[in-house]
């Protein structure tokens, strides 16, 4: 009985926390769509390198809506799961898949070299590109996307990363559209990606 009550409290706390996060996102969406440039805007200019070592910037993504996810290759669970889910969703998009760009940005630039990211991404859909850079460049893009990340030392002198776990969906004008949360249901995620692809400018 006590156990059940504790779980209810934990669940309620979780729901409350989620509601706050959702409100923040709704606010961000509103601000983004209205074209305000304020604290709540998501996205911005960046300079990084891709997983083949080529320099890239926000201009590289311009013209197509995109899905952008922040993680790291030393991540044992959330990142491979998310990239695996994204791989499945891209497959379900069929020909629409090409209307979007997909980017995995590392929050661990010290270990995630272009070469390592390239090898890592070979296990996922070929549309997904990896971006890395200097710690300062990563801090800048993470700041622009309101991505939280933090290095947490482990007892063996190594470290793991805390990081935001959602995929941001951005339109072709680099404005924030919505997010796909960790382990979101396939149908919901695919319909968000489809909606994003339908906004792609036809050339």
């Amino acid at each position: 009985m006590m156990q059940a009550r504790r779980w209810i409290i934990i669940t309620m706390a979780g729901v409350a926390g989620f509601a706050v996060a959702a409100l923040a996102i709704v606010f961000a969406v509103g601000a983004g769509k209205a074209g305000h440039i304020g604290v709540a805007s998501i996205g911005g200019p960046f300079t990084l390198v891709d997983d083949t070592g080529k320099p890239v910037s926000d201009k590289t993504l311009a013209g197509k809506p995109y899905a952008i996810y922040f993680g790291y290759t030393y991540c044992p669970e959330v990142c491979p799961t998310t990239l695996f889910d994204l791989t499945q969703w891209i497959k379900k998009l069929g020909p629409d898949a090409d209307k979007l760009n997909y980017v995995f940005v590392t929050v661990d630039p010290e270990r995630d070299t272009p070469k390592l990211m390239h090898a890592y991404l070979s296990s996922f859909d070929k549309h997904i590109r990896g971006f890395t850079g200097t710690p300062a460049q990563i801090a800048k893009i993470a700041g622009e996307y309101r991505v939280y990340y933090k290095k947490v030392p482990t007892s063996d002198g190594s470290y793991v990363m805390d990081h935001s776990s959602m995929i941001y969906l951005m339109d072709a004008d680099e404005r924030f559209d919505t997010v796909i949360t960790y382990q979101e249901k396939d149908a919901s995620a695919v319909s968000k990606l489809k909606a994003l692809a339908s906004q792609a400018p036809t050339s």
Partner: protein, 180 residues
């Protein structure tokens, strides 16, 4: 005498049944049930193993550490997503397995984290893992490796078929056929 022999036989049979489902041997104080590890993407340096640990004794035990020949370091971690932020922490003081109770290590929760992988974890293969408990001591188990999508809320339903051709980058095989 005959009856006693029969009883012993039946007792042995009964004892053998749980042993077939759980690793750790008949005399172990901890049963390790349904262990599995997730296949890792190419180049990945970390992996995770999951299982249920059942304490068959009336005293609490703790999983204090682990080791494997496939990883430089193995730790017990807890993963949580708090307000959209993924957090991972080493379980301080060991993972408590309550008396006559069990703890399930699963995605989104506790896991045995394999750090500094010496080679990728390939679906269909298995790895050796030794778990160290405060009271039960060392228990060595064999952990089957499941496809990358295994066990996750979404892809896991598809089971082994999920990854299709993607897991088939067998090292060695094709490389040796290279023409001069």
């Amino acid at each position: 005498m005959r009856i006693l022999a029969k009883l012993v036989f039946i007792a042995a049979l009964v004892a053998a049944v749980p042993a077939a489902f759980a690793q750790g041997g008949g005399n172990s104080k901890i049963d390790v049930e349904k262990p599995w590890a997730r296949a890792t993407p190419a180049g990945a340096m970390s992996g995770a193993a999951y299982m249920t640990l059942a304490n068959k004794t009336a005293t609490e035990d703790r999983l204090t550490g682990a080791s494997s020949n496939v990883a430089a370091k193995v730790q017990v971690h807890e993963m949580k997503v708090v307000n959209g932020v993924m957090q991972m922490r080493e379980v301080a003081g060991g993972l408590v397995i309550p008396a006559n109770g069990s703890v399930t290590l699963k995605p989104g929760s506790y896991h045995v984290m394999l750090m500094g992988l010496k080679k990728p974890l390939v679906a269909g293969q298995s790895l050796a893992l030794t778990l160290t408990f405060a009271k039960a001591g060392n228990i060595s188990i064999t952990v089957p490796i499941e496809a990358l999508g295994g066990g996750s809320g979404n892809g896991g339903m598809g089971g082994m078929g999920g990854m299709g051709g993607m897991q088939h980058d067998q090292p060695g095989g094709m490389g040796k056929m290279e023409m001069k």
